[in-house]
């Protein structure tokens, strides 16, 4: 029996060793091939963009038939097109996008979306976003993907390709947004999306809590002062997370009456909301208001007591300065 196991393990070890060596040789070869392919497709794109006598349509057809034969070549072609697309503007950028369609790489990307593994789908969605391939119906199902990476890229697609209503996909959302996705959307709104920023109050009644919280946060980040009145009732919302975010937002929007409202609310609040109240009063209230809170702190609320102490110190420092 031992000998049998020894033989099995030995053969398996040998097979794995061979696999490791073959894998290394394969990767080395592929790396070398990649460099050559990159140069070849680079030269072709350069010709298309900068040689005025070049018949793009005919040459693209020829190039596609003769050169774009393997998936590796297609992937490298897409990568090179993305690099050119990122670095060029105006007519050249349009020409690069045109080339993408002429080489029928859009069909290749759609195939990946339909059949491939999640990490390839994620990359395909990224390509569609960057090259603004308008196929929202094809991408929409990926908003419900269980794989975060895919869902993230689907969200990015809608933000990147939208001209006026970047968060329309919220209507189709049925799964809560994670904090990471919320940050991702916020960053994309701030850095990628170029249209008009929407009024976030329209999502304050959204069925998903994460979308409501996101909307409150965005009112703060994009300084939508016009929504102060809509937010005030949310200070009494049943969910402490909503109350906490509302306090933060109203504080940032410099809502003057906030300290007096919060003073009355402090005692009945949860610990995390209390911490936020202290922050808000430190920012908008007075030292006397902070000192008023002291009598409402229970003996075992060490975190709150420490926060209050720090806030008082900071405020004293500010007033003496």
């Amino acid at each position: 029996m031992n000998l049998l196991f020894a033989c099995i393990f030995f053969v398996a070890s040998l097979l794995f060793t061979i696999a490791i060596i073959l894998l290394r040789l394969f990767k080395n070869r592929r790396e070398n091939a990649k460099k050559i392919y990159q140069d070849q497709i680079g030269d072709f794109i350069n010709e298309c963009l900068f040689n005025e006598e070049f018949d793009i349509e005919a040459e693209a057809e020829r190039f596609r038939a003769e050169w774009l034969k393997t998936n590796l070549r297609r992937k490298i072609a897409i990568r090179q097109i993305l690099i050119f697309n990122e670095n060029l503007k105006g007519e050249s950028e349009k020409q690069v996008k045109r080339l993408f369609y002429l080489l029928r790489l859009d069909q290749f990307v759609f195939e990946i979306l339909k059949k491939s593994a999640w990490h390839q789908q994620s990359r395909a969605l990224y390509v569609m976003s960057e090259l603004k391939v308008l196929k929202p119906a094809l991408v929409a199902p990926f908003l419900h993907s269980k794989i975060h990476g895919v869902r993230e890229q689907a969200i990015y697609y809608f933000l990147k390709t939208s001209d006026s209503d970047p968060l329309r996909f919220f209507e189709n959302l049925t799964v809560e947004l994670t904090l990471w996705e919320q940050l991702y959307i916020q960053d994309s709104l701030q850095n990628v999306y170029q249209g008009k920023i929407p009024d976030f109050s329209q999502w304050l009644e959204h069925p998903l809590l994460s979308v409501r919280l996101f909307a409150i946060r965005m009112i703060r980040e994009f300084s939508q002062f016009e929504n102060i009145a809509t937010l005030i009732p949310m200070l009494n919302h049943r969910d402490p997370l909503v109350r906490k975010e509302t306090i933060k937002t109203l504080c940032r929007l410099n809502f003057e009456k906030l300290p007096s409202i919060l003073l009355a609310q402090f005692q009945k609040e949860e610990e995390n909301v209390k911490l936020e109240i202290i922050n808000a009063i430190r920012s908008l209230g007075t030292l006397a208001m902070l000192q008023d809170l002291r009598s409402n702190i229970k003996e075992d609320e060490n975190r709150i007591a420490l926060k209050l102490l720090k806030a008082e110190k900071k405020l004293k420092l500010l007033t003496t300065e």
Partner: protein, 423 residues
Amino acid sequence: MLQSNNLPAISILAPAYNEEANIVENVRSLLTVNYPYFEIVIINDGSKDGTLNQLISTFQLIEDDTPYHNFIPSKDINRVYRSSSHSFRNLKVIDKKNGGKADALNAGINACSHEIICCIDVDCILESDALLKLIKPFLNNKNKVIASGGIIRIANSCIIEDGRIIEVKLPEKFIAKAQVIEYFRAFLMGRMAWSRIDGLMLISGAFGMFDKQTVMDAGGYNHNTVGEDMELLVRMRRVMAEKNTPYTVGFIPDPLCWTEVPQDWNILYRQRNRWTRGTIETLWLHRKMMFNPKYKILGLLSAPYWMLFEWLAPIIEFCGILFFMLLLLFGKVNWFYVSSFFLASYSFIVLFSITAIFFEEYSFQQYKRTNYIYKLILTACLEPFILHPYIVWSSLKGNIDLIRGKKSWGEMQRTGLRNSAKT
């Protein structure tokens, strides 16, 4: 996302004890971490050398009188410092009485400002996006995430410049090469698999991220064990399970942190001796979890696995060798059985190591030179004869030392990555 202004702030806690020679360079390296909002808290754990003076003079430290509260017990803090220079505004130094690594980290937790803490060894080299990758599970999970860790890599012999790895090299010494394979086995196979079934019992003390509130609720690091990193995570998980709160522990399958491993047999002995004592202490402290269905995977699978394969396996192996010697003494050895058993166990351990190398080659392929692969395969074949018996012996001695009541860490000398490897 690294440019995002909206990521949560992180407190990086790094205890330092007698690190005068490298502390300034180490802190400078930490200050270059690529993440939008973080503070670095260096805890000088009663160093007897000039660690604190070096920090004060280089980073222009002044006393910081921001109040703090000892939520978790730790030895007295002498002073807290912050930098008067704007360039180092996110640096905080705590000077405290000596109490060991666990105590130093507890002091850091009490005095740090942010809700997510990252505990690291001060001389570790972090990948530039390590913090971003490690915080992702905290933000991208439906359940509460209490901790997250990643793959630790071995930096011996690598070329390092300005606190960054610029070329990955295979260590020259056999002892370090064998540990490379050990780390492959532990991280690419073991921890990856345990994280898949949410059964992780250990986030390496060299680099791990934690939810501060959960750490405080669990009582912080335990001073009375030498395996404080494992004990903390097990206790946090136990507290969460007892509160019936859904939670998870994140694991990032990417190399995030590079550390130096012992290249000296005596230091390796001390390290493994300590790991064994830490494991036994943790398992003993949390024996209630063993085979207890209330703790699910942790009680039914992880804890029994650690008991059998991490604690008892060296003892069983040693007993087997003793029994074989007795049989040899009395001339009762069945040589056919012995040879076939030896071949089976040897080929199994080689298979295990080769599989780990295969995973590395398939996924990260960090060792780019082709001849490194042949060296690693050769090391995998030799390791069972050279390193493994030594590890078994160190573990056995760990058991004996624990029974004798030994509590010390043992001196862990490092050659210093930044100085030795810079070329």
